[in-house]
Amino acid sequence: MKRRYGRTVEIALFILPFAAFWILFRLGPVLYGFFISLYRWDPLGDAKFIGARNYLNLARDPRFWNALVNTLEFAAIAIPLIVGIGLVLALFIFAGRKRRVTTWLEAGFFFPYLLTVSVVGLIWRWLLDPDFGVVLITLRDMGISPPVFLNEPRWAIPAIALATAWWLAGYRMLLFRAALEDIPDEFYEAARIDGASGPRIFFSIVVPLLRPAILFALVLTTISGFIVFGQVLIMTAGGPGRASEVLAMYLYRFGFEYLEMGQAAAVGMVLFLIILGLTMVSFRWLGYESSL
């Protein structure tokens, strides 16, 4: 009996350091954030309980809905773009895996992932500059008259999504490439002997076996899609007008520019619930395969 007790204490001590950080700085803040969202916070420090008023204010604020729609638009463009490009690059790298040069190509595709978001934002703002950006100049030289991406309400979000895909697709590529390497060679050989075509092999063998990897990539990318902030701040600052103001930016501005901390905390809760809901949907949709 005594030994068992000692063992429990030992296990607890192994987990405690991690658990302490986790509770204080990860789980705790979610609960604290909910508490904050129920109050009106005076910049001088006074707080007044107002129940769900902050949430009602959000529901009534057209600017909030605008930010929500913009975030959804960004997610709808960026998520398939990031995961899709990652998958295509992985297939390329996998197909050429027997050549030495491939490791360098892979490194090239991956490198942008290591850049900080400010660098990504600055580079793409310069590339897409309406007057001197090399992308627009090149397109014009080719006889195309491109939109001035970042200055046009309809094009700002797609342009930011493109820059984000450039930044993040490399990590998904590594994930898919590793999953492709896990598929035993015999699977392909058997399929080829049975006379299956390339696309047939892809959709009947590769895609089903990549499901766990696709699910993981989707969840990961959904999260980064909904919390998008830095690249928007640097590339358009939410503009033109509020055409690219996303939820995280709305949160930042209400919290730290208008000092409406309660309302900003409410946005945080909304973001959390969106991520939670979408993750559950993707698990349902793609089937949860426990990796435990």
């Binding site: 192994f14 490198f111 900080t116 993981f216 999260i223 949160l251 945080g268």
Partner: protein
């Protein structure tokens, strides 16, 4: 046979062209950073700088505490990495090498907190750090990045595959869990530790949203926040902005060129189950 060989050559050529296009924005950043202002806005654009200059680099280094920002980034990323490893190793051990009731359920709870990104928590974290009088200090930035589930997930995944006979043998010799962890598990798990170090360092080095909120004085900025300040000051003076961005990227690029294989292996491990 020749047709398929030709096909494979063609594929490599296409992918290589794509890879060049992919890294072109980075090359463009470097060349813009060393072009004099008139050349930056010259039409048609020049790919190779005609009169390279270090004026922009000098401007960034002399007018801004750029090296201090780099130092701040090293401190924040270093502290995040070291502390993450310290707390994740024993927890991952308890979740993989020890058997106890409720183990997998508790692990799943920790793991599911992957769905709570830092960004969602910035307001409560701001309140918390304000109460702890930590705003505008290093700990304010690195403390919230330590309890990330990726640490225990990655290590646990690795520990589970180490054969149990090894610790049985050690146990027969009278070793307790701490000594087994130190003498048996840790020496065998270098690849997983390296992966975690690379992942955490990159994550902390690049963190933006929370750092921007937690740090208010320019002396405390990390590189990403400092670059944002540069943008605020220079707007569309792209020579200076690209010089600053290039200076921030340079250490990453050097490290990547030297450690390309291990960085890619490590990051792959974090994404691969």
């Amino acid at each position: 046979m020749t047709a398929s060989k030709l096909g494979s050559r063609l594929l490599v050529a296409v992918v290589a062209a794509l890879a060049l296009l992919w890294v072109a924005p980075i090359a463009w950043m470097f060349t813009t950073g060393i072009k004099p202002a008139p050349e930056i806005f010259a039409l048609p654009p020049t790919w190779i700088p005609q009169r390279p200059t270090l004026d922009h680099v000098r401007e960034v280094l002399s007018r801004w505490p750029f090296l201090r920002w780099a130092l701040n980034s090293v401190v924040v990323a270093g502290a995040t990495t070291v502390l993450s490893v310290l707390v994740s190793v024993p927890a991952a051990y308890a979740f993989s090498r020890l058997r106890w009731r409720g183990r997998d359920a508790i692990f799943l709870v920790f793991l599911s907190s992957m769905l709570i990104p830092l960004e969602v928590n910035v307001i409560p974290l701001y309140f918390l750090m304000n109460r702890l009088h930590l705003l505008n200090t290093y700990p304010a930035v690195f403390l919230p990045m330590i309890g990330m589930p990726i640490g225990i997930f990655l290590l646990r995944q690795f520990y589970i595959n180490i054969p149990g006979e090894l610790d049985d043998a050690a146990r027969v010799d009278g070793c307790g869990n701490l000594r087994i962890l130190w003498h048996v598990i840790l020496p065998l798990s270098r690849p997983a530790l390296a992966a975690l170090v690379i992942y955490m360092f990159t994550f902390a080095w690049n963190e933006f949203f929370w750092s921007m909120i937690a740090l208010s004085s320019p002396q405390m900025f990390t590189l990403p926040i400092g670059l944002r300040a540069l943008q605020g000051a220079y707007d569309i003076d792209y020579g200076v902005l690209m010089a600053g961005a290039a200076l921030a990227v340079l250490p990453t690029l050097m490290l990547f060129l030297f450690l390309r294989g291990s960085i890619i292996r490590g990051i792959t491990m974090t994404a691969h189950k």
